[in-house]
Symmetry: C2
Subunit: 465 residues, 2 copies
């Protein structure tokens, strides 16, 4: 009711709470069913679990189920605890199987067992089958609610069949044609059925060409296939080609967002979170961050070791120390940029493993150009500052040259490392997204220091060093 | 034909090229139309533009259009150049309007004008209307191909109407009910129509509740609404509530991926690319990276300035210089982690602007704990190394304390900066994703150095300093 919505969410929440406080149950019920279920679900998010349960007991069955499906999994779990067993049973039995799987997935084993026992025999079988597929597989996100028809039927027969069996189906946008055994032989968009004459045989509408997901495929495969094929729904087959479920595009939107969230978090140097930031407990969040921070810290300790070797140089030319942060961060930044670009391009399938050579060539050139730009700026800065302040002493020009040349080397090295690390990780079957900005920076820092002091040794030998 | 596919893409490509070389035109045509259009489109990607044009001239009209729609925009552009004017006209006229908008968007103005003149008057009006909406608006991604019905019709009348007018519609999953003026009054899933008795009036099937996008909304709003409402398609209304188009979930999958790509690239410290990595020209890519690298470099120059103030301290205690990279990178890493988490949580709507206080409290505590962990490791390392090597001289314990305390301060500061920067950027109407890992690191580097040398001054005064 977005167009003619008369209350905003906060107002709905206030009205709900007022009515509960006044114990005005009929008013409460009427107010609730006047809302769109999704809007009500949204408003309920901020209502206490106790009040939520109260409201759900009042709602008409169908309306309650739809509203329940729109709640987030967290609220669903809380609510189940507050409801009577018969109401829990009715909610679970009527939920669409894919939403139910998503809910059950999140609950502890014993609770799931208890809940599954509340299901009717048919629904129990469905739930157990879906939960039987591996986590993150297409099997877990599919729904068995779809229409199958046979090639020898007519369009009219099909429409009659849908009229009787189509209720409660997740999506009727695509209808599936199977043979007598249940093997998928085609998918037909409802458009084609709706726009054909009633006496047309289904065989005439078929094109014998379809794209199917496999039930054991990873969820991310589903996302890729959807992205490529622009479909509203895709059929899911087992290894023998029997149709076992369908996946709809709206569920895939969530998968794409989830996958991307994981990649983004990894790129930021955090183990991917399983829950939203605000709902992740403080200690879980801490553990996910501490792990990488410690790994990176230990790696970064090599910089202290490396610099130990250059202690003499630094004490002779303290001025060299002043540029350490500038130099290593330039390498780190160029590396972060490149690895981010490459990781994302790999994730979207724009760059394949075999492209590493092409990428290397390109990034080598980029690195040289970017390094030269920063090198020129760095050189100029030293020249200007020493002109005004004399901060860098008599050998300012040599120092400026050291900084300039080092930057070319460090930025080129950072760029190449950032470009190749994702490929190397992939080669070793690790997730390319692990090559996070901090990870690349750490690798580049140590080598950056070595490059810096080697260039300095070459240029400043006999003068400062 | 994934299940019973007899050729893989490379094989199809080879067969196509063989047939072209043999000038076996009928064989080529038959081979092509045996393929699923999407598969053919995929295989064509690696065929030369000249051969592509050749093949398209052979394809039956409808088959050619479907195949054309599956090509990526780049190939479409190339192909248009290779085709005769009449064929271009037929392709453009028959393409679905949203795909056509996506293609026209990418072409230079004069070409668009030329192409639009090839359209039939009706299609020209449609194309011009869609192109009239601002870039990145919902208007640009919608299609005007949908079915509208009136509340006084019956289900049977509706089905008859769809049978006649439903061809070429993008999606029939949802049917839209409008009043006599064209104002949207409800959306009905096709399920409800297909499963109702033929003589039921549409009014009985309506629930007078719908969610609509607004035509001027940003595309990302559409993505958020789809993610929240789990719909196959959403109607688009103008500011007065008149139905002007629909957006389908499959198109939104691309938007989600695009938006995330932009965020990821920005988080990596690169201006977002408009095209895939491999298709972005070397110089464009360079410019997008150079801009941020230079900004960060100039910011990072402050570290050299800051360290200039501590030159005396460094020359007295060169050992302090050894830990500079370790310390500033720890601040940078903890900042990158935090900003990544917060930016993503904001993008997904999990964290709102008003949550900043909650986030600050949480991250302050996280920072202190993480800092203490790294501080303890750093302290231990100095103790161990100096036990074995004597590298840090007589005052090793004071140095170990300096490192440990500095790390607590720097990591806490990094964490807080990373957490607050996205909120600050948002406050100033900038994209929170701009607070990239490199950006946060740069900010934290300068302050990290100041913290380090201040702590050192406090602890080492009278001994090393």
């Amino acid at each position: 009711m977005e167009q003619n919505e008369s209350f905003n969410l906060d107002q709905i929440q206030t009205v709900l709470e007022d009515l509960i406080r006044q114990r005005h149950w009929t008013g409460l019920k009427h107010f609730c069913i006047e809302q769109e279920p999704i809007v009500l679900a949204d408003a309920l998010r901020h209502v206490s679990a106790y009040d939520q349960a109260l409201i759900f007991r009042l709602l008409p069955r169908d309306f309650g189920i739809t509203t329940f499906e729109y709640l987030d999994i967290d609220s669903q779990t809380h609510l189940l605890k507050g409801l009577g067993q018969s109401q829990v049973a009715s909610l679970l039995n009527e939920m669409s199987p894919d939403d139910r799987t998503a809910l059950l997935e999140e609950l502890p084993g014993p609770v799931v067992k208890q809940l599954i026992e509340l299901l009717s025999p048919t629904e129990r079988e469905v739930a157990q089958t879906l939960l039987g597929y591996p986590e993150n597989s297409v099997g877990r996100m599919m729904t068995p609610d779809y229409i199958t028809i046979h090639p020898q039927w007519t369009v009219g027969e099909t429409l009659n069949y849908i009229r009787i069996h189509g209720k409660d189906k997740e999506s009727l946008d695509v209808i599936y044609v199977v043979d007598e055994l249940g093997k998928l032989i085609d998918d037909i968009r409802i458009n084609q059925i709706l726009t054909a004459e009633l006496n047309t045989p289904i065989q005439k509408v078929m094109n014998d060409a379809f794209v199917a997901l496999k039930v054991m495929d990873d969820k991310e495969v589903a996302a890729t296939v959807f992205r490529r094929f622009d479909r509203a729904a895709l059929p899911v087959c087992d290894s023998e080609g029997f149709l076992v479920g369908i996946v709809t595009a709206d569920d895939v939107i969530d998968i794409v967002a989830e996958t991307d969230t994981r990649d983004i978090q990894q790129l930021g140097g955090v183990d991917a979170l399983d829950d939203p930031y605000m709902k992740t407990s403080f200690w879980v969040l801490l553990r996910k961050r501490a792990r990488w921070l410690i790994i990176l810290f230990v790696g970064e300790m090599l910089t202290a070791t490396a610099m130990g070797f250059f202690q003499d140089e630094i004490s002779k030319a303290v001025v060299l120390a002043l540029f350490i942060p500038l130099i290593i961060s330039s390498g780190g930044n160029s590396g972060s940029q490149t690895s981010t670009l490459i990781v994302r391009a790999i994730a979207l399938g724009e760059v394949r493993s075999s492209d590493w050579g092409k990428v290397l060539k390109r990034e080598l050139l980029s690195g040289l150009v970017l390094g030269s730009i920063l090198g020129a700026i760095g050189f100029t800065r030293v020249v200007i500052v020493s002109g005004f302040t004399g901060l860098y002493g008599a050998h300012w020009l040599l120092i400026a040259m050291t900084i300039g040349i080092t930057l070319i080397g460090v930025v080129t090295w950072g760029t190449i490392s950032g470009a190749m690390l994702p490929f190397i990780l992939r080669k070793f079957k690790a997730d390319p997204a692990t090559s996070s900005a901090p990870f690349v920076a750490t690798i580049v820092d140590v080598t950056g220091l070595i490059i810096y002091f080697s260039v300095a040794a070459l240029i400043l030998r006999g003068t400062l060093l």
